[in-house]
C-alpha cells in the first residue's frame, strides 16, 4: 500500500513537493486555500521571472500541469485543514472544502503556505492608496502581466517612473527588521522590462543597499549598462503630490545631490514579503513554532531548514522566510524527500 502525504499550499514549493512525491508513487493530498494553483506568482500574474526573464508559465504552468495530470495527486481547491491531530506517528486531518469535510490519515505533512505581500498602506509616508499613481511591485507585475502598463490616474503611459526599495522591510516602524531578499532583483527586473517595452519612459531606483545577491547581480549591471536605469542612493522620506498630476519623491541623495524632490508620473513601491496571517494560523493549528519575524520556524535554520520542530511535519518555500522561486522549488523537493523517508520509516 502506498504512503499518504498531505501538502498544504499549492505555490511553487507545494506544487514541486506534490509532483516529486507523486513520482515516488505516494498518494498526495494537496490542500489549497485559493480556487487555483500556482501561489503568489499565479495570483499576481507574474509574467517574466528573474533571473533569466523566462516566461513564468514555463515554471508555474509546468508545475500546475504536472500536478493536475497526476493520478495520485488529489487537489482540494478553496479548502483548508480545519482540524489536525497526532495519531501515533501519523496525523489525522479534517479537510474542509466547498464540497464538505473529509477526515483523512496521513503518514507525514508538508507545509508550504508561502508568504503575503506587505501592504504598503501600512506605512503612511508612501501615500499608497492616497495617490492613484503610487503602486507596488505586485501591482506592476499584474499590470505587465495583463499588458496594461498605464498610469492609473489617467490611463496614459508614464514617462518617468521611480522604484522605491525596502518598503515594509528593514524598518522597525512597520515591525519588519529583515530584508525581503527578492524585491531588489524584482525591481531591477521590472525596470529593465519597462525600459525594453517602453524605451521613452525613464526609470529611477532609490535604494539603501542593492541586494541583487549572487548571480542576480548580472541584472543590476545590465540595468545600468544596457538600459540606462538611474540608480540613486537614498531612502524616500515622503511622497507628496506635485504639479501637473505628478507624485513627488522627497529624500536625501546621500552620495550626490543632497536633498531632492523629484516629480514622477508613477511610483512603484518594492513592498516586501511577510509571513501573513496564514503563518500564525498554521502554527497554532499544527502545533509548530513561529519565529520572531512572523514566519514558520525551522528546527535548525542551517542543518534542516525544511523540518519543523514537530517530527513528521516538514516545511518548504517562503513560509520559512523570503526567498526566490528556485529556492522554494528546491525546498519543495527537500521536504518531499524528508516527508517520504519519515513515512516509509513509520509504515
Amino acid at each position: 500500500m502506498s504512503e499518504n502525504i498531505l501538502v498544504i499550499g499549492g505555490g511553487p514549493a507545494g506544487l514541486n513537493a506534490a509532483v516529486m512525491l507523486s513520482e515516488l508513487g505516494v498518494n498526495v493530498t494537496l490542500v489549497e486555500r485559493d480556487s487555483f494553483l500556482g501561489g503568489n506568482p499565479k495570483k499576481f500574474k507574474y509574467k517574466f521571472l528573474f533571473p533569466d526573464m523566462q516566461p513564468a508559465d514555463n515554471v508555474i504552468g509546468e508545475l500546475i500541469k504536472k500536478t493536475e495530470s497526476a493520478d495520485n495527486i488529489k487537489v482540494y481547491y478553496s479548502s483548508e485543514v480545519s482540524d489536525f491531530k497526532e495519531n501515533g506517528k501519523k496525523f489525522d486531518a479534517v479537510i474542509k472544502s466547498t464540497s464538505g469535510s473529509e477526515t483523512k490519515t496521513f503518514d507525514s505533512v508538508i507545509v508550504a503556505t508561502g508568504f503575503e505581500h506587505f501592504d504598503p498602506a501600512r506605512d503612511a509616508k508612501y501615500s499608497y492608496q492616497l495617490f492613484d499613481d503610487v503602486i507596488d511591485i505586485k501591482d506592476l507585475e499584474r499590470m505587465m502581466g495583463e499588458n496594461n502598463f498605464v498610469r492609473p490616474s489617467n490611463g496614459k503611459p508614464p514617462k518617468k517612473v521611480a522604484f522605491i526599495l525596502c518598503v515594509g522591510s528593514r524598518d522597525r516602524h512597520v515591525g519588519n527588521q529583515y530584508c525581503s531578499r527578492v524585491c531588489c532583483t524584482v525591481s531591477v527586473k521590472q525596470a529593465i522590462e519597462m525600459r525594453e517595452h517602453f524605451p521613452d519612459c525613464e526609470a529611477y531606483i532609490f535604494y539603501m543597499d542593492i541586494r541583487t545577491y549572487g548571480f542576480f547581480e548580472d541584472l543590476y549591471w545590465k540595468a545600468m549598462e544596457e538600459h540606462d536605469v538611474q540608480i540613486v542612493k537614498g531612502r524616500i522620506a515622503e511622497i507628496t503630490s506635485g504639479p501637473d498630476n505628478t507624485v513627488v519623491c522627497k529624500g536625501e541623495d546621500t552620495l550626490l545631490r543632497g536633498p531632492f524632490e523629484i516629480p514622477f508620473d508613477m511610483v512603484v513601491l518594492a513592498s516586501g514579503m511577510e509571513g501573513g496571517s496564514q503563518s500564525p494560523e498554521i502554527s497554532s493549528k499544527l502545533g509548530i513554532e513561529l519565529d520572531e519575524h512572523g514566519f514558520l520556524k525551522p528546527e535548525n535554520v542551517t542543518l534542516s531548514p525544511f523540518k519543523s520542530n514537530k517530527p513528521g511535519v516538514f516545511l518548504a518555500g517562503a513560509c520559512t522566510g523570503p526567498k526566490a522561486i528556485s529556492d522554494s522549488i528546491t525546498e519543495g523537493a527537500a521536504a518531499a524527500m524528508n516527508a517520504y523517508t519519515y513515512a516509509v520509516k513509520n509504515r
Binding site: R172, M208, R235, A237, E238, T254, G258, P259
Partner: protein, 225 residues
C-alpha cells in the same frame, strides 16, 4: 577663539575626548543611538536640510564613528541648525533620534558655556529672565512691534493700554502685564529650588554672567520676602 580652515574652533584633543565621553554617558544616549542604515530618511524629512548644509544622518554617523574629532566639528555651529522638531526620530527605520543626539550635544555646549551657545542664547535673554525669575515664558509687556513683526498688522494696537485690556480678563491671576499670570511667591520659591537642583542657575551663570546677576537679585528678593 581660533578657527581652522573649515571654520571649526581649535581646542585641545583632550577636550574633544571629554565632550565625546560626556555625550556617551548621557542617560539618553543608548536610546537615541542604535544602528544606522545610512539611508537618509531622517535627512530627507528634516526641514533645515533644505536650507543649510545640515543633515541628521551625518549627526548620527559622526556619533557612531566614536571619533571625538568628528564630533567636535558639530559643536560650533552645526548643532544649532536643528529645529528640534524630531521628525527624524519619528521616521528613522532604526528608531534612532538624531534630534535627541543634538539635544545632548547642545546641553553640553550650554553647560560648558561654549562661545556658540552664548551667541545663540543671547537673543533669548528676555525669555530666560522671565522664565527663571518669574516662572513665565512670555508676558504681555513683551509684545512690542519691534520684537514681533510677524504677529500681523495689529501688533501696534495690541501693545497699547495693556493694563486696561488685561482687566477685561475675568481670572484674577491674569490681570498683570509684566507676567502672563501671577505666580504665588511660594510657587516661585519652589521653582528656584528646582532650578538650583537641576543646575539651571549655574548654566545661566556660565553663558550669560550679567543676566545671571539680574536674576539672582530677583531670586534673593523673593526668597527673603
Amino acid at each position: 577663539m581660533e578657527y581652522d580652515e573649515n571654520g571649526v574652533s581649535i581646542v585641545p584633543a583632550e577636550l574633544k575626548k571629554e565632550i565625546f565621553e560626556e555625550a556617551r554617558k548621557d542617560f539618553r544616549y543608548e536610546e537615541y543611538v542604535r544602528g544606522c542604515l545610512n539611508c537618509g530618511v531622517c535627512t530627507g524629512g528634516c526641514p533645515p536640510h533644505r536650507f543649510f548644509d545640515f543633515s541628521p544622518r551625518i549627526v548620527l554617523q559622526k556619533m557612531k564613528s566614536k571619533d571625538p574629532e568628528l564630533i567636535w566639528t558639530m559643536m560650533d555651529e552645526y548643532v544649532w541648525a536643528c529645529f528640534q522638531c524630531f521628525t527624524c526620530a519619528m521616521i528613522c527605520p532604526f528608531l534612532n533620534s538624531p534630534g535627541g543626539v543634538i539635544a545632548i550635544l547642545r546641553e553640553i555646549a550650554v553647560r560648558r558655556g561654549f562661545e556658540s551657545a552664548k551667541k545663540v542664547l543671547k537673543p533669548y535673554s528676555r525669555v530666560l529672565l522671565k522664565l527663571t525669575a518669574y516662572g513665565n515664558q512670555l508676558s504681555p509687556d513683551m509684545i512690542q512691534p519691534d520684537f514681533f513683526p510677524d504677529w500681523g498688522p495689529h501688533i501696534g494696537y495690541a501693545s497699547t493700554d495693556l493694563a486696561v485690556k488685561r482687566k477685561a480678563i475675568p481670572m484674577p491671576t491674569l490681570q498683570v502685564t509684566n507676567l502672563a499670570w501671577d505666580v504665588a511667591p511660594e510657587t516661585m520659591k519652589e521653582l528656584y529650588d528646582i532650578f538650583d537642583e537641576a543646575g539651571v542657575f549655574k548654566i545661566i551663570e556660565s553663558v550669560d554672567p550679567s543676566l545671571y546677576e539680574i536674576i539672582q537679585d530677583i531670586v534673593d528678593d523673593v526668597r527673603s520676602s
